[in-house]
């Protein structure tokens, strides 16, 4: 194998040609790889008959949370759909409602998405302090209830604030407090309507 001046000039001349072809082919290829962001034009026979159920607002009776630190897990269907090779897909986000003690300027509830803002695992509400100390590498002060993620051991305290609101990270690598659901309390019920924008799913 020998590479001489002639080969080099040939190679230089090939660059614009190859570059154009690469550009022409690369862009649709990347587009092919990226999941589609809108409804795809599919013939009727290919469409799936069973559509996912429409987005529903979730509500709970306040009396279910009579005591402080009572909690409930729920699954929330996101309003934006995804279009995949098997049809439409609506993401479900695991969430949690917790009744908390009074915190000035905030309602008595926290409604968090349970998707960890660090790397997307599902974190838990862990009311037992011994369990946090044993499993999550953090010993909370007495009486402090926390949320904790099994993957990388981030711990969130709903009674402390960071710039994104309640749920300051008290241990572990998470970059911010959990994503919050937007909710309102009316007529003895708590209505959960949507999720704070951004974030990992």
């Amino acid at each position: 194998m020998n590479f001489d001046r002639r080969d080099f000039v040939k190679g230089i001349l090939a660059i614009p040609v190859v570059g154009t072809i690469a550009a022409v082919f690369a862009s649709p290829f990347v587009r092919y790889l990226k999941p589609s962001s809108g409804p795809t034009a599919t013939a009727e026979i290919f469409k799936r008959p069973d559509k996912p159920s429409p987005v529903k607002e979730i509500s709970f009776d306040i009396n279910e949370f009579a005591g402080t630190w009572d909690f409930k897990y729920f699954m929330f269907q996101e309003s934006n759909k995804e279009y995949t090779s098997v049809g439409e897909q609506i993401k479900t986000i695991p969430g949690v409602v917790v009744r908390t003690p009074d915190l000035e300027g905030y309602p008595n509830f926290v409604v968090f998405s349970r998707v960890c803002p660090h790397l997307g695992c599902v974190f838990n509400y862990v009311p037992v302090e011994a369990e946090v100390a044993a499993g999550y590498n953090y010993t909370p002060p007495p009486g402090q209830k926390v949320f904790a993620c099994p993957c990388h051991l981030s711990v969130y305290d709903p009674m402390q604030l960071d710039t994104k609101g309640r749920g300051k990270v008290v241990s572990g690598p998470a970059p911010r407090s959990p994503f919050k659901f937007i909710f309102k309390v009316e007529d003895g019920r708590i209505f959960i309507s949507s999720l704070e924008s951004g974030g990992i799913s």
Binding site: P35, T84, Q89, L119, G120, S154, V169, S171, P175, R176
Partner: protein, 500 residues
């Protein structure tokens, strides 16, 4: 001799001959392509003398075992979210010899990764990459990366809890690449703010002094210019959506096989063109290794775990054994930095042969390379042990392992200094100062993304002495490689001088 001729000779003698580009290509690229070696097939004699040169052929053998057993698994595996886990169960329980084929596929792949890792270490220790053979090191490294990617995509196909959550973590961390640019912008703003504080005139829009002062960063505008959504696009391309679903299984299934198939075609074309033996060991040894893989499959049957549940993350959750160290690192350090380190480790390994340019082949004559390799191995082992035994304390551990790693490299630098006469003392002092800062920088959790600027500057760069710790840490890894170049290629050796 006439004056003209004299002048001409003078001109000739002082004319600097620049290397032509085709010369460079011939010397740099072609010379290395000529020396290429995939599975130690060019070390026919060395295989007989040195047992570690058997790693190459065994690497090929374990790869082929994995491909062959994989082909059989394909006949029964169903790549859908609903049926994947069940079809694994059918292979394991109902199909005759299914458990053996699946076990050999798993342990064959594990063996391939072990062979690749050991061969990389052998290439470093025996300096196989010297004498224009750096590409051989790259070949082995890319095979290791192929093993890692195939391992990751392979265990998602089982669709159990471990697979699901490991894939979640693997697919989420590239998203933090989008924040590299913003981090740099914050660093720039910090410097500009300091300059303004020290009296630099500035027409930049700024925050009132009572609110903290400093220049104003428009986050939305910054995002628009700095953030090209590389991370988000990578994530979506990996997963085929914004969450793990059917599209992810299909994609992983195709790539799991495509990469090995393409690799196999390249390797076969290579062996066809140069007529070398693929496996230059006696076949009895090959069968011994295959028997060992089969024995492993019989004694420790491949596990299936619990079916994947997107709503529940189980508490002790581990990845496959070769990612355990990385997994532990993600617990220790903040995600943007962890993402950068994850990308820097392969980059460092990739360019290491080009930094190690001395003629020495003995490993103890290249102490910095030796100590960096030892540091990498010890870190990987210790992190894996910590996560398996679950005895790490993520809040107090980091200073110990950062200091430990730095000290191991420092020993290498010290030994290197003893070997060479010509050392700039101030360079050494500078290096150790940086290492000391690295130690002091205390990597710990500090949530700061998306904060208002004055908070960012206050909390990240100047709070409790941890200013700029990110950037020192980023720099540290490059610095280690720089030190290799600095101390092992410059200056005459002591032994040469004393002999004169």
């Amino acid at each position: 001799m006439s004056a003209e001729v004299k002048n001409k000779n003078l001109v000739e003698s002082i004319k600097v001959k620049l290397p032509s580009i085709d010369d460079v290509i011939n010397k740099v690229v072609m010379a290395r392509l000529k020396n290429i070696d995939f599975f130690d097939e060019t070390y026919v004699d060395k295989v007989k003398q040195n047992i570690w040169y058997k790693l190459g052929p065994l690497q090929w053998l374990t790869w082929i075992v994995t491909i062959a057993t994989g082909a059989f698994l394909m006949m029964f595996y169903i790549p859908t979210a609903e049926q994947a886990y069940s079809s694994i169960g059918v292979i394991q329980e109902s199909i005759p010899w299914g458990w053996l084929v699946r076990g050999m596929h798993k342990y064959g792949a594990d063996a391939f990764i072990i062979m690749c890792t050991l061969k990389l270490y052998r290439q470093v220790i025996c300096a196989d990459y010297k004498g224009k053979r750096e590409l051989n090191f790259w070949v082995c490294f890319f095979l290791l990366l192929l093993g890692f990617y195939s391992g990751l995509s392979g265990y998602l196909l089982i669709w159990n809890q471990r697979a699901f959550w490991a894939t979640k973590v693997f697919a989420t961390f590239p998203g933090y690449m989008d924040q590299f640019g913003l981090n740099l912008a914050f660093l720039g703003a910090t410097i500009v703010n300091k300059l303004i504080e020290w009296g630099m005139p500035s027409s930049l829009p700024s925050i009132p002094v009572e609110q903290g002062g400093g220049i104003l960063l428009d986050m939305k505008l910054l995002n628009q210019y700095i953030n090209f959504n590389v991370g988000m696009t990578t994530q979506q391309i990996l997963l085929g959506g914004s969450a793990i679903g059917q599209a992810t299984i299909t994609r992983f299934y195709s790539m799991h096989m495509a990469l090995s198939t393409i690799g196999l075609i390249v390797v076969e074309l290579y062996f066809y063109s140069n007529k070398k033996k693929r496996f230059n060991l006696p076949w009895s040894e090959g069968f011994l290794v295959i028997a060992m893989i089969a024995a492993a499959a019989m004694i420790f049957p491949a596990e299936s775990g619990a079916r994947a549940n997107p709503a529940v993350t189980p508490l002790p959750i581990l990845s496959d054994w070769y990612f355990l160290a990385l997994y532990q690192m993600y617990k220790y350090i903040e995600p943007v930095l962890a993402t950068a380190v994850t990308m820097l480790i392969p980059a460092t390994v990739l360019f290491m042969p080009f930094f190690d340019r001395s003629d020495e082949t003995k490993i103890y004559k290249r102490p910095v390379v030796m100590c960096v390799s030892i540091m990498g191995a010890i870190n990987a082992l210790v992190f894996s042990i910590l996560i398996i035994l679950n005895i790490a304390d993520i809040n107090t551990d980091p200073p110990y392992w950062v200091f430990g790693s730095v000290m191991i490299v420092a020993v290498g630098v010290y030994l290197s200094q003893k070997q060479y006469a010509h050392i700039d003392r101030w360079k050494l002092m500078f290096t150790f100062t940086i290492f000391q800062l690295l130690y002091l920088s205390r990597i710990h959790t500090m949530p700061y993304f998306g904060l208002p600027l004055e908070k960012v500057l206050g909390e990240t760069f100047f709070a409790d002495g941890s200013w700029g710790r990110n950037w020192i840490f980023y720099g540290g890894f490059f610095l280690i490689m720089f030190v290799v170049w600095l101390f092992e290629n410059n200056g005459p050796k002591i032994s040469q001088e004393s002999s004169k």
